[in-house]
């Protein structure tokens, strides 16, 4: 029939008109990130970490910097742990290589800064802040 395609087209747009929208009202409504989403900074658990440096070694871009010390018993201990998100390509190799499963993505992806320095995250300090309950420093749901 002549013009049938036109009616089908009108039907599609009308259905779309009443359907749930694909876009989100972003800063107010936070996106639902998938389980395997890779992004944000590395969330480290310093208590579980054995300072093996495997994550730093596995990183193709050398975006993880680890400084280790030895304690009284001669055991290796984590002194500094920095994640340079500006160099990170979110390949997930560090997380996969960790034998203790002590790093994961914090999935807080909105951390734009004014210089490259802002992109370097001190993971130990972040973990300490998280432990003390003061999470307001990092991008959280209540930040907006």
């Amino acid at each position: 029939m002549y013009g049938k395609g036109l009616l089908i087209g009108l039907g599609i747009t009308l259905r779309e008109f009443f359907r749930k929208k694909a876009t989100e009202k972003y800063p107010e409504v936070r996106p639902k990130l998938s389980e395997r989403f890779r992004g944000g900074k590395l969330a480290l658990d310093p208590d579980k970490c054995i300072a093996c440096s495997l994550c730093a070694l596995s990183c193709p871009n050398s975006s993880i910097r680890i400084v280790t010390t030895k304690d009284e018993a001669g055991k290796r201990k984590l002194a500094e742990y920095e994640h340079d998100t500006g160099a990170c390509m979110y390949c997930n190799l560090c997380i996969e290589s960790c034998p203790q499963k002590c790093i994961q993505w914090d999935k807080k992806f909105d951390f734009a800064g004014y210089s490259r320095k802002h992109l370097v995250s001190d993971c130990i300090a972040a973990a300490r802040l998280k432990k003390t309950g003061d999470v307001s420093q990092e991008g959280t749901k209540n930040e907006q």
Binding site: L6, T13, F17, K21, A22, T23, K25
Partner: protein
């Protein structure tokens, strides 16, 4: 309380007020016409603000987006912000334009839609100027818009503008014919060109039921007359940037937009008058609300079509008009005439 005539009551109140101040009845008439003009212009401006937002919302919704939603609840103040932005922009005139023709074009384009508002029957006895040749006046006035497009195209001294202007002329002159022929069917039924009489005769049956083909032809031709998608070859971005509007910016450009939405409302209001029974409707709401409601439904229809179909090619547009719409509209007139004759022969 009979809320049917709120507009009438305001009118008679103003008439009494002017009668006390002004010396002669003629002066009162002139003052009333002036009030009607101001009311129409105010309607156009508020409508443009609402319709631009509505258009963007409809576009968003049909593309699975929210549309403007940042400024105010549901993005209500988006258009206001846009207008402020456009007003504060530099009034830039490119080199080599034909100064007067270029500057006059947006103003002249804005005039015909404003004039059309004079004959729109917003409610029972609430027509700004109830001409006995109202529809004829509408047809005559809406043709004038063609000149403004050509002026903008020619005056801009830009090849894309000129092509756009020429396309506008070709398109608008061609589509005027099916537009007029589709209206003719209604005029044959009523025997009158007066808009108030046409609405009065639809008290029983709306003419969309008697003239469905004419209604569809009117829709198509009106979309083409107002240069809206899918007939916006005048300003086809992918081909000729923005056509005649290319060299305009700031408030001059905004006036083009204003004129587009003013004429969109005008053609929708005329469609309501001719086919959808004008102010008639169940009595729990006053007539002017029915009228505005139907007009907005028509506007939604135009937006719906706009955001569904892609743009036609120039040759497709022309052949569709001359080879399809005009023969069909002529056939519609023939069938209408025969039907009227047969009805008279049977019913007396």
């Amino acid at each position: 309380m009979n809320n049917e005539d709120i507009l009438l009551r305001i009118g008679s109140g103003l008439r009494q007020l002017f009668g006390g101040v002004l010396p002669s009845p003629d002066a009162v008439d002139i003052a009333m016409y002036f009030v009607a003009l101001v009311a129409c212009v105010a309607l156009i401006f508020t409508n443009a603000v609402i319709l631009i937002l509505a258009e963007r919302k409809v576009a968003g919704f049909m593309q699975s987006r929210y549309g403007p939603n940042r400024l105010g609840p549901y993005g209500m103040f988006q258009t206001v912000a846009d207008v402020i932005k456009l007003l504060t922009k530099e009034d830039y005139r490119p080199h080599g334009v034909d100064k007067w023709v270029w500057a006059m074009a947006p103003v002249i384009l804005f005039v015909p839609p404003v004039m059309v508002y004079a004959i729109i029957p917003f409610g029972k006895e609430a027509v700004p100027v109830d001409l006995n040749i109202g529809i004829f006046y509408f047809i005559a006035i809406s043709s004038v818009a063609t000149i403004a497009f050509l002026m903008a195209g020619w005056g801009s001294n830009n090849k894309y503008s000129l092509i756009g202007g020429m396309r506008a002329v070709a398109q608008m002159v061609s589509y005027e014919i099916p537009l007029v022929f589709s209206i003719l069917g209604v005029v044959m039924l009523t025997g009158s060109l007066q808009t108030s009489v046409i609405v009065e005769k639809q008290a029983g049956v709306w003419f969309i039921l008697l003239q469905p083909v004419a209604f569809i032809i009117y829709l198509i031709a009106a979309a083409a007359e107002t240069n809206r998608m899918p007939f916006d070859i005048v300003e086809g971005e992918s081909e000729i940037i923005a056509g005649p509007f290319t060299e305009y910016s700031g408030m001059r450009w905004a006036i083009f937009f204003l004129a587009e939405y003013a004429s969109l409302f005008a053609v929708s209001a005329i469609a309501t008058t001719l086919f959808l029974g004008g102010w008639h409707g169940p009595a729990f709401l006053p007539g002017w609300i029915w009228f505005m409601g139907k007009t907005y439904v028509m506007i939604f229809l135009f937006m719906w079509v706009r955001w569904t179909f892609p743009r036609l090619r120039v040759d497709q547009l022309m052949s569709f008009c001359w080879k399809f719409l005009i023969p069909v509209s002529l056939a519609n007139i023939l069938v209408t005439g025969i039907s009227i004759f047969a009805y008279r022969a049977i019913g007396g």
